[in-house]
């Protein structure tokens, strides 16, 4: 019989081994799934993990890696702060959309003015859009004790409706002959977010993501606020005893995660996406939740987790187009990653003991 026994101290070995073991187990279980679907599992796993980095089109796909990883990391770092404190912002997708709409609206409002200040102001507007959208569940929670999980999630659908209105109505390109979608920012240099070094995929969003990873790392390791965030998540009563106001922390963590999701949306709409369109959001806000946990809610871990998740996106697309895998199989594969991660994670704080039947 198996029994779980709590370790007196968390295991440092498993803390670092968990993501590696989880990825390995996902490859095995995913391989079985691909085999059942009638594909060669080794071929599929190779297509997902190897081809984008070292295959024939790696010169292009490696750039795509950073383009996809940037927003994931940016959003996931913000979410991880709240998750650490036990504040569950599930609506980053909505904050991402609202950041994009606010930021884009500022840029489009002054079209076609050329001024170096336009893009920085758009960034501020993007931060504000995500922040204000996250403040709705935050204030409702602190005032009326509503559940932030539900409220933030529901607001995603409200944001999607506003996005549809924006692209068909108030932000629609007046010269777009009636097609939905805004003007394209690639043809408006003062408000665009171009690739900074050709072929690398690095744009301002990627730079910001790296900066945010470093800042969050310093916050959590060195700053009293980071200590308070961890304390609130691990022992809420001890946090109140220390002097943390739970409401203040809710407003702060929701605000930071919302603002970072919002600015991620702004960088996406002005860069890789190019314009506001009905389906410009592709679920980064939700995938970032997986990224945050895959990275152990640790900023540096999230950096690697974001790159890994971006890899499965790109590799998954390759596998879907080249090998004819259904895209649902790729999503299941990504889901397995989170599943195994959470399962293996138990080993950090518990050890498995094999006991003979009957004895305890």
């Amino acid at each position: 019989m198996l029994a779980l026994e709590k370790r007196p101290n968390p295991s440092r070995f498993w803390l670092y081994a968990t993501p590696v073991v989880a990825v390995a187990l996902t490859m095995v279980a995913g391989g079985v799934m691909f085999a059942i679907l009638g594909k060669n599992p080794f071929e599929v796993v190779r297509t997902i993990f190897w081809v984008p980095l070292f295959g024939e089109f790696a010169w292009y796909l490696r750039g795509q890696l950073l383009v996809k990883a940037g927003p994931l990391i940016l959003i996931a770092v913000g979410l991880s702060l709240g998750f650490r404190a036990g504040i569950w912002n599930i609506g980053a997708e909505g904050q991402y959309i609202m950041g994009a709409i606010f930021g884009a609206a500022v840029g489009l409002a002054v079209f076609p003015t050329e001024n170096r200040l336009i893009f920085p102001v758009m960034i501020l507007a993007g931060l504000f859009g995500g922040w204000i959208w996250a403040m709705i569940p935050a204030i409702l929670k602190t005032r009326f004790n509503t559940n932030e999980i539900l409220v933030s999630l529901m607001l995603v659908y409200v944001a999607q409706t506003i996005l549809a209105m924006a692209s068909t109505n108030f932000l629609r390109n007046p010269e777009g002959s009636g097609f939905p979608g805004s003007r394209n920012f690639s043809s408006y240099p003062a408000a665009s977010n171009p690739e900074l070094i050709a072929g690398t995929g690095i744009h301002w969003g990627v730079v910001t993501a790296v900066f945010v990873v470093v800042a969050a790392h310093v916050l959590l390791q060195r700053h009293l606020l980071g200590f308070q965030i961890k304390l609130a998540g691990q022992a809420p009563r001890a946090a109140r005893f220390h002097g943390v106001s739970p409401n203040r922390l809710v407003v702060l963590c929701m605000g930071v995660s919302g603002a970072l999701a919002g600015v991620a949306g702004l960088f996406e709409v002005t860069g890789p996406a190019g314009q506001i369109s009905i389906d410009f959001n592709v679920g980064y806000g939700f995938t970032a939740i997986i990224v945050a946990f895959l990275g152990r809610l640790n900023p540096v871990g999230i950096l690697f987790a974001g790159l890994l998740m971006a890899l499965t996106y790109i590799g998954g697309e390759m596998a879907a187009t080249n090998l004819g895998l259904p895209s649902a199989a790729i999503q299941a594969f990504q889901g397995m990653l989170l599943f195994f991660l959470l399962a293996v994670d138990v080993m950090t704080n518990y050890r498995i003991r094999f006991a003979a039947m009957g004895a305890r």
């Binding site: 026994e5 007196p8 101290n9 968390p10 060195r222 700053h223 009293l224 606020l225 200590f227 961890k230 304390l231 691990q234 022992a235 009563r237 001890a238 109140r240 005893f241 220390h242 002097g243 106001s245 004895a359 305890r360």
Partner: protein
């Protein structure tokens, strides 16, 4: 074996139980006669709980055997132990506050009778044993003493041959203890054996026929408690001579802490609101606040620590209003606190000792600079606590949850005292702590008072309060009595201050007093 005749109910022979890293019980043997009250005496961690869990079928022994009336007895589960006539009242109640008495009793039975029948039986049994209880009342509305009655009645309904009671008096006033003892003597008179676990020596001397004393998992002595002094029992239990804390007479200094007309609603649904609590503590003085659990101790602690805020002038520190300030601002002003619950409130279980030193030391010890934590300073503060308060730990990186209760409590109290506060408030400072650590902590509080702090000790342990406090006040249903000097205070007077027999009919008190007296007279002849 003292006093156990040929009519042995349960005998334990050479029982051993090892957990990873600890020998909880080693070659333990003792016997209980039918109709006897037998004490298991020992410090925390001496192996009493493990032993009774084996008798109750919760844990299986590694070696040794037990016999019940001469038959092999090896319960695989509590159900089997109950079937053999063993019942147990746990130290911590397992009751649902939102259900009534009868429903709670039914939940603990293997096959409960219909509700109406059960209610009638509860009424009959509880009155028969001098523990009146209304089966229809909500458990959330009962006092701690009444809740314990629910647990006892639940056991008695199963007509046990052996009743195990784990630290039953920690939640009772002296008067309630007398009622309980009356019931236990009545049960013993009817032939039920009682295994009584405690570290309160006077109780054991007055109640028990025999005692087995455990230390570090082994039987170190067996005796008839009435024939020993409390001091002799304590020294057998601890295995060393005990020093009573030293205190020096001192003149009261200037006023440090004044609480005036403090009202506070409880943050929990079944908590107790504070009503018009007022007291003053001067420099060099220790005020002891007693009370039965759940009479507002937690709320008073929260209101003093700043986790519950109120009117500014409801709490005055060194003459300045701090009632509306949070915990950190109060620490800055010189008021530190040590809550009852070590893990999860006073300390974060999964964090290291260094991080836990930062938890309250950040402000007064200057462990941060412009919001950035000076981890080196925090670590040396943790080391200072470990060194000064003799905390046994591999190092400052150890998680708080890996420390034993006594060591963590020394760390928590040490952390507050070493901040050189003007006022220190502690709740249950030695709860669940071994005797040596408890003596150390009490001495540290006395020393801090002598060094110029005003100290408030909230505790359910009356002996502890009499030992350290200069003045005594009692919390009763959220109200605080006027403080009186502890010198010359009788146990009877304290009992009345604690609310007498809490929510229990006075007729029963007289009734059981008679039983107590007649039984005592009986034992004398």
């Amino acid at each position: 074996m003292s006093g156990e005749g040929s009519d042995v109910l349960l005998s334990v022979e050479g029982i051993s139980k090892t957990y990873p890293g600890v020998k909880a019980n080693e070659d333990v043997s003792f016997a209980i006669g039918a109709g006897r009250v037998h004490a298991l005496l020992g410090e925390n961690g001496a192996g009493k709980s493990t032993l009774v869990k084996m008798i109750y079928g919760l844990v299986r022994p590694d070696a040794g055997r037990m016999r019940m009336r001469g038959q092999d007895f090896a319960p695989q589960a509590p159900r089997e132990a109950r079937a053999a006539g063993v019942a147990m009242v746990f130290q911590h109640f397992s009751l649902f506050e939102a259900l009534n008495v009868a429903e709670n009793v039914a939940l603990g039975m293997d096959d409960p009778p219909p509700m109406r029948e059960l209610a009638a039986r509860i009424r009959a049994v509880s009155e028969g044993y001098g523990l009146p209880l209304d089966p229809g009342r909500l458990v959330g509305d009962l006092s701690a003493g009444e809740r314990q009655r629910v647990e006892i009645i639940r056991c008695l309904l199963q007509d046990p041959k052996l009743l195990i009671m784990d630290e039953p008096t920690s939640v009772l006033t002296p008067q309630e203890v007398q009622i309980l003892f009356g019931t236990l003597r009545q049960l013993a008179g009817e032939g039920t054996s009682i295994l009584y676990i405690s570290h309160k020596l006077e109780e054991i001397r007055s109640l028990c026929d025999g005692a087995t004393i455990l230390r570090r998992g082994r039987v170190v002595a067996s005796c008839t408690p009435r024939e020993k002094t409390a001091r002799e029992l304590a020294e057998m239990m601890v295995g060393a001579t005990l020093n009573a804390p030293a205190r020096k007479a001192k003149a009261p200094g200037p006023l440090r802490l004044a609480v005036r007309g403090l009202d506070a609603a409880s943050p929990s649904a079944f908590g107790t609101a504070l009503k018009d609590v007022s007291f003053e503590v001067r420099q060099g003085e220790i005020l002891g606040i007693g009370g039965v659990a759940g009479n507002g101790q937690d709320e008073l602690m929260l209101a003093l620590s700043g986790e519950l805020r109120g009117r500014p002038d409801s709490v005055m520190l060194n003459g300045a209003p701090v009632g509306d300030l949070g915990p950190d601002a109060r620490r800055r002003a010189g008021l530190v606190t040590g809550p009852e619950e070590r893990l999860g409130h006073a300390a974060c279980p999964d964090m290291s000792l260094t991080e836990n030193a930062l938890l309250t030391g950040a402000t007064r010890k200057g462990l941060t600079r412009r919001g950035f934590v000076d981890w080196r300073a925090a670590e040396s503060f943790a080391q200072e606590i470990i060194r000064t308060f003799d905390v046994r730990t591999p190092g400052t990186r150890t998680a708080a949850r890996a420390l034993s209760g006594g060591n963590l409590q020394k760390f928590v109290i040490g952390r507050e005292i070493l901040q050189a506060p003007d006022v220190i408030v502690v709740n249950q400072p030695t709860w669940g702590v071994d005797a040596a650590a408890a003596a150390f902590i009490r001495q540290a509080l006395l020393d801090r008072a002598a060094a110029g702090a005003a100290v408030v000790v909230i505790s359910q342990d009356i002996d502890e309060l009499l030992e350290v406090a200069d003045r005594f006040a009692a919390l009763n249903e959220g109200r605080l009595t006027a403080p009186v000097p502890t010198e010359g205070l009788t146990l009877d007077r304290i009992g009345m201050m604690l609310g007498g027999a809490h929510g229990m009919h006075s007729a029963d008190v007289h009734h059981t007093h008679e039983i107590v007296q007649s039984e005592a007279g009986h034992a004398g002849t």
